[in-house]
Amino acid sequence: MKTKVRLEEISFARSGDKGDVCSVGLIAKTSKSYDTMIHEITPEKIKSHFGDMVKGGVELYPMPNVECLHVVLRKALGGGATKTLRYDQTGKAMGQALLRMEVDVENDVLTEARQTMEKIFEKYGKAWG
């Protein structure tokens, strides 16, 4: 059984800029989350999720060694940090925006991924919230 959820349920993200290119590193919450991401996420889906925000191509680079899926969004930052009218000049929020994309996830994968933050708090302690 699969459930449609936002990518945020199974992945973390960090994004930034290289000129007009926005780079988004998706960091899988669990090994099974990574496998799901590799199958569920395509350049076409990402392009359609961002609409006009991403004017160029989308490239994906799987990194099984660290269970990350690297995403490159071209012509995504209004010409680049120094000239863009975007409030988020360097694309720091683009990763979080990508985590809003919907994906179909097997329920057992989802259940395990949802325990990630609790496990992190158990290991490192909780400093806030």
Partner: protein
């Protein structure tokens, strides 16, 4: 096994000083690197230098070195900084003066130069070489030639290594790559050169440099797991324990804030990277797709197994050119109907721009608190918002046109709806646009001089 400890003291111009001082005092580090330069910074600094030839370096270098040099001199920690910006010679002079005033007799300050390729670019263009824009594909540099303010190459470790061989205690450079701040000391200490047997090892140093070069960003800053990150106000900057076999352990000073975990290191491994199999730096091309990340203890993460491909034949050059002005302003609307009030105001200012004949290349409207940073990935729903801001931004070629944003948003205060409120709108800011391109490595010659106190 021989290891060296390298600290990362700064990730941007304006970063915190205290964690850097703490690193030198308590981190038992052999080297500390300081990155103060973003892509835009050289253009700002070149303009400063054009007005005053004794300026053009990062002014922070003076207060920073006053605090860093005493513990560094005392502990034998060497300092490598790119705060020289557009004027490394003068910055080196200032550092020498500080050292002299602090009584550090015998301190050697190395100044690395050669990254300013503006004259070279003109010479090569005259010979028919082209410098297409890597972002846009535009090939004709003539379009911007009369507006260029800076052209600097991201240079590698070569001259830093040579200066370190001469026994310098401080290296002041300009636009060396951030990464070279960390690759240079590793290569120097282990006696590596740029030949094939060292490709993987240099790739390891590049990978480690990439992870620590943004300082706090790998020790819990900007993290997805921010709720597990203790005491960010006294965050510890990273230390890389680098070993001769290419393995590194990333850690931080005991009892500092922040967190070094497999998560925070992974987050930074994938930060601001294009193709992770080909992370191109002046000192080599690293393949991150083989890198192994293991948490081996509290605030200790081991990074290993990077693969490398040797140095690229070209260096990246960032050309900065004057490109008009941006006017930007915002005002806020209160409940009830906050979003509708903001939408109405956007319509009003659009009409005002028509009446005042705004000549802009682009105008942008955002609803603050609704869709400003998530853009089209969120739907603008008709919710019962407590408050919504309207942000208006326009890019124009003249100050006067861009300034219309400031003038017209002020009118919204009086002609839009009840309860609107704004702060003081700022004046338009000048825009420096960037033209990233490549230059053959052989055309860029770096060098160094030494000033002894």
């Amino acid at each position: 096994m021989k290891g060296i400890r390298i600290g990362s003291g700064s990730s941007y111009w304006g970063d915190m000083l205290e964690p850097a001082v703490e690193l030198v005092e308590k981190g038992e580090i052999d080297y500390i690197g300081f990155d103060h330069l973003a892509e835009l910074t050289l253009s700002i600094l070149q303009r400063v230098r054009a007005k005053d030839s004794t300026k053009g370096y990062i002014p922070d270098i003076i207060p920073w070195m006053k605090e860093i040099l005493p513990p560094a001199w005392d502990k034998g920690c060497k300092v490598i900084t790119n705060a020289g910006g557009a004027n490394p010679e003068q910055a080196g002079e200032e550092v020498s003066k500080i050292a002299k005033n602090l009584g550090m007799k015998g301190m050697k300050v190395g100044v690395v130069t050669g990254d300013d390729v503006l004259p070279k670019l003109k010479e090569l263009r005259n010979k028919g070489m082209e410098f297409p824009n890597m972002d846009t594909g535009e090939e004709n540099l003539d379009l911007i030639e009369d507006r260029i303010v800076a052209a600097n190459a991201y240079t590698g470790s070569d001259s830093i290594i040579e200066a370190l061989k001469e026994g310098v205690h401080v290296v002041v450079a300009g636009r060396i790559s951030d990464n070279a701040l960390y690759v240079a000391p590793v290569m120097h200490e282990f006696g590596w050169d740029f030949t094939e047997p060292y490709f993987d090892l240099i790739a390891s140093a590049i990978t480690t440099g990439h992870i620590i070069e943004c300082a706090e960003s790998c020790t819990g800053g900007m993290s997805n797991i921010w709720q597990a990150v203790p005491e960010p106000w006294k965050i510890g900057f990273p230390i890389a324990e680098f070993y001769e076999n290419g393995e590194t352990v990333i850690t931080k000073v005991l009892n500092t804030g922040g967190l070094v975990s497999e998560w925070t290191i992974k987050e930074h491994l994938v930060y601001e990277v294009l193709d992770p199999r080909n992370y191109i730096m002046p000192d080599g091309i690293a393949d991150f797709s083989s890198v192994k990340i293991e948490e081996i203890g509290k605030n200790r993460v081991k990074v290993s197994q990077a693969k490398g491909k040797g140095r690229p034949k070209d260096l990246k050059v960032c050309i900065g050119y004057k490109d008009g002005f941006i006017g930007e302003a915002q005002l806020f609307f209160p409940w009830p109907d906050a979003l509708e009030k903001a939408k109405r105001a956007a319509e009003i200012i659009r009409k005002r721009f028509e009446i005042t004949n705004l000549q802009a290349e682009e105008v942008r409207y955002d609803f603050l608190g609704v869709n400003t940073i998530l853009g089209e990935t969120v739907s603008v729903e008709d919710l019962d918002y407590n408050e919504v801001g309207l942000r208006v931004a326009a890019k124009a070629q003249s100050f006067e046109e861009a300034n219309k944003v400031r003038r017209e948003i002020t009118h919204l205060w009086t002609i839009s709806s009840v309860g609107a409120h704004m702060g003081v709108p700022s004046h338009p800011r000048p825009v420096i646009s960037l033209w990233p391109t490549l230059i053959p490595r052989d055309e860029v010659t770096t060098g160094f001089t030494i000033k002894e106190v």
